[in-house]
């Protein structure tokens, strides 16, 4: 069974074996508004936990996307680069950002589960 966890920077991460799929949460898209631009990390590059791994821009402002775990970028989602509005439509499924080959699974331990994240997001926006 795959495990979904959440970061304080409003990313979600789904781990399947060694493959981690990462995107931004619905709550994040609601805060950002209409997303009009997405930039993703280079395939083959290595990203470090809590480091910048992309950018999303709304009509109002640019926001960095962080990676909640370290690893090698093995795939990126061209669909959201071509049509960034897909991120608003389906942020936690088809509009994933990038996939990593995870370096250290214990990095998942410090992340929040769904229930914890929902509480965190609610408090952050209150």
């Amino acid at each position: 069974m795959s495990e979904v966890k959440y970061s304080k920077e409003h990313e979600w991460i789904k781990l399947d074996g060694e493959e981690a799929t990462i995107g931004i949460t619905k709550h994040a898209t609601e805060m950002l508004g209409d997303i009009v631009f997405a930039e993703l990390p280079e395939k083959g590059s290595n990203v470090e936990k809590d480091g910048t791994a992309g950018v999303v821009e709304s009509t109002k402002a640019a926001s960095d996307v962080y990676t909640p775990v370290s690893g090698e970028v093995i795939d990126t989602n061209q669909m959201i680069v071509d049509d960034p509005s897909k991120i608003n439509e389906d942020p936690e499924e088809s509009a994933w950002f990038f996939k990593l080959k995870i370096k250290d699974k214990t990095e998942m331990d410090s992340l929040m589960n769904k229930e914890e994240y929902e509480k965190f997001a609610k408090e952050a926006s209150a």
């Binding site: 508004g33 209409d34 009009v36 631009f37 930039e39 709304s58 009509t59 109002k60 509005s85």
Partner: protein
């Protein structure tokens, strides 16, 4: 200082606005639909904008006032007919812009619409330059509501009959709910539209009736993307105390008849008219989908810094990133290749014509 609320504050909340502080007021940045849909609805139908935070300065006086105001503003106020409006500037002695504004001649003086963040300072500057000879009223008992878009004239005409006879940059008195309202045909979106000045107590029912007739409330977010597509300046971003109207590419707003006459900043402007300017405001179109926002540095193909972006966003109607900014005048020609430094990378872009979106101003029903 506490945050001020406009007469439409309850209505903003009712329609699901995200509220932000802007120039000391609690204002809607967007409603439930979001900026892109609000932007597109204004371009295809009509949108209602709460602009009550802006200053409505009434100055009472006759020919003496006209003469004295011409010593302040570079507009041809003597030629202005009653109810006619002109875009102009309050400048400093260096020719820098303290505020950009709209002056309308009224039956008993002038009405000047000021930017919210500048209005109190403008009031003091204008009052002192007029030597306290006239009665000035920065009227905070009035709301100001803009209705913009191709359907604006039909929507407003149902609520206030007769307003669709107004010509662009002209105004008149009308009656709404037994009260006098002042309407001008003007706006800040590149669309046909109106600005309606009315008592606070009538504003909410007035806006509800516009909504019933098919219009929607639009927030400051879409107001910003609409004005950028229309190539219009935002004071504080694209215009400031160190930038003259000539540098801002707003030479058209300074009539030839005034160039040789005296007004605040006239020496600098006259000199710039004769010898040209070092920097010039231009339209910028990035080649790719990357957005260059205000303060992005601009480079030439030799990696030399030649200017900076002052406004930039994604244009929902043109479906492409757009920007404007100032470049060294020698790079201001349309189609000049420039580079924008975004997140450490040099993004290729071209100097382009403004506006990005073609204007739809109506010169009056007769000419349509």
């Amino acid at each position: 200082m506490s945050i001020k609320k406009t007469s439409l504050n309850n209505l903003h909340i009712k329609y699901g606005a995200k509220l932000v502080e802007f120039a000391g007021y609690q204002m809607p940045i967007q409603y439930k639909d979001g900026i892109i849909q609000e932007h597109k609805y204004t371009r295809s139908h009509s949108g209602i904008f709460d602009v009550s935070h802006m200053g409505q300065l009434f100055i009472l006086g006759g020919d003496d006032l006209t003469n004295d105001l011409e010593k302040i503003f570079p507009a041809d106020l003597k030629k202005l007919k009653t109810n006619q409006s002109k875009y102009s500037f309050l400048m400093n002695n260096k020719g820098g812009i303290q505020d950009d504004l709209i002056i309308t001649k009224t039956s008993d003086g002038f009405l000047i619409i000021l930017n919210a963040a500048c209005k109190y300072n403008d009031y003091e500057v204008i009052k002192s330059k007029l030597d306290n000879k006239y009665k000035l009223n920065l009227d905070d008992s009035l709301s100001l509501i803009a209705l913009q878009g191709p359907e604006a004239k039909n929507v407003l005409n149902k609520v206030i009959p007769g307003c669709n006879n107004l010509k662009f940059m002209n105004g008149d008195n009308f009656i709404y709910n037994d009260e006098k309202v002042y309407i001008t045909r003007s706006g800040y979106t590149g669309e046909d539209g109106f600005e309606i000045s009315m008592k606070h107590s009538d504003a909410e029912t007035f806006v509800e009736s516009l909504i019933k007739n098919g219009s929607r409330l639009i927030g400051l977010g879409a107001r910003d993307t609409l004005r950028m597509e229309a190539g219009l300046c935002l004071y504080g971003n694209d215009l400031d105390n160190d930038t003259s109207p000539i540098e801002a590419n707003l030479k058209w707003a300074i009539p030839k008849s005034r160039i040789e006459t005296e007004f605040v900043g006239s020496e600098v402007l006259k000199n710039q008219f004769q010898s040209g300017v070092k920097k010039l405001r231009v339209g910028i179109k990035p080649d790719s989908k990357v957005i260059a926002r205000g303060n992005t540095k601009i480079y030439n193909d030799k990696n030399q810094e030649i200017g900076k972006v002052t406004s930039g966003t994604f244009g929902p109607s043109v479906e492409h990133p757009i920007a404007m900014g100032y470049v060294d005048n020698s790079y201001s020609t349309v189609n000049t290749k420039i580079f924008l430094e975004v997140r450490g990378k040099k993004i290729p872009a071209n100097i382009c014509n403004l506006p990005f979106y073609k204007k739809n101003y109506v010169k009056g029903e007769i000419n349509v």
